[in-house]
Symmetry: C2
Subunit: 236 residues, 2 copies
């Protein structure tokens, strides 16, 4: 019998999973058909739960193994469960995805934080908000979350234009991974899931049909793990 996997997650006040990195692992576990027990944590639970050993989620526990960092976890899942569908079909695919992760971080994740930093704060559990604000305003060298996001509506057009590489690809393929989803899909779906958890500003234009079709397919994956009634609308 396989050891049970526990996945430590970050949740908002409404209980929805709220970390783009955790979503990658949720999709990865589903891709491999691995059941797991979810352990929901708020921002301020993380340091307490792990006694300082891990500062971020996802964290997984599997037998004697306990580890953080979504990328390392994905590699661990592939090496530990080689009989299940691989996340990385070749060494070159793994390396190329890791390179892509850098671009996605800079061109999508970072701009999303600029759009939604205050929404993340407001959707956090009340007891987590002061910590979130002070740590993030520290990153921002003292700028308030309100000031940081004040011009966010004006930033939307440029953000949307930055998704052109995705649209070009999805005009040709059903998934970022080609005819079937791969970790590229999970990275980007995870970002949109994160937005769907916290958003008070629709991210995408009504007529963005290529992205809409892919998001529909993506959110339907694995019996729709990405779908629930708490999702905020992604489209205008």
């Amino acid at each position: 019998m396989e050891d049970r996997i526990r996945l430590y997650e970050l949740v908002t006040q409404n209980g929805r999973s709220a970390s783009p990195y955790v979503w990658r692992i949720r999709y990865s576990l589903a891709h491999k058909g691995l059941p797991y027990e979810s352990v929901p944590l708020g921002f301020t639970d993380i340091a307490k739960e792990f006694g300082g050993r891990f500062k971020t989620v996802p964290v997984i526990e599997h037998g004697a193994t306990m580890m953080a960092e979504s990328w390392d976890i994905a590699e661990y899942l592939d090496s530990t469960f080689p009989e299940r569908p691989p996340l990385f079909g070749s060494a070159g695919e793994r390396a190329t995805l890791r390179l892509l992760e850098n671009w996605i971080g800079i061109e999508i994740l970072r701009p999303l934080f600029r759009l939604y930093a205050l929404d993340i704060h407001n959707s956090a559990r009340p007891e987590d908000r002061a910590y979130f604000r002070s740590s993030r305003e520290g990153w921002l060298k003292g700028m308030t979350l309100e000031a940081f996001t004040a011009d966010r509506t004006a930033r939307l057009p440029q953000f949307r234009e930055g998704l052109l590489p995705l649209r070009t690809h999805l005009a040709r393929f059903a998934f970022l991974g080609g005819s079937t989803p791969n970790y590229a899909d999970y990275m980007v779906l995870g970002l949109f899931q994160w937005v769907a958890t916290v958003s008070t500003l629709p991210l995408l234009a009504r007529d963005d049909d290529v992205l809409r079709s892919w998001l529909d397919r993506g959110f339907d994956l694995y019996d729709g793990i990405g779908r629930d009634s708490k999702m905020q609308p992604l489209f205008e």
Copy 2:
């Protein structure tokens, strides 16, 4: 006996290969260990050579097959020579590389054209220059190549910053493809080869050691197909 491959290339006045897309195929042919005959063309030879059938190079000819588009050629090489080292180790690797190609096109290739459009003109064969100027100034809605590139030195810092995803990756791996090069390396090496053919402005900062080491390794590949005495310096 295998049919001989002919590769139609774009060359500058000094005879050096001058298309980033052709360089991808030069590296791809070397990766697969496939010999080929090079057919050098100038900008204005292309339409004549192919009677309008192809407007861009690379074009390869192999037996009864004649085809353009670097991506299609790479796929053709893998499917036609399955016994040789694959360019794409898995279907997911192929799709991920094609997605990456979109980002590279927007984040690297397009800014490079902005830096080097006039240098490309000046390095072309004299008989190709009027065509290059009028076609490209047409793309630019009448702006001259001189005006388009006038502020290029001021654009260098932002361009260099845009290479951060590559640097982050190459701090971990010998090649973009991981421990061995893959098509990601060939796409980006091809861009730097293009710059090395035409440049009168060193692209990279003297202290950019991570990129420098990778470029050294990359240009050494396959007995140094990327190295010759006509290369312009890439570093300040």
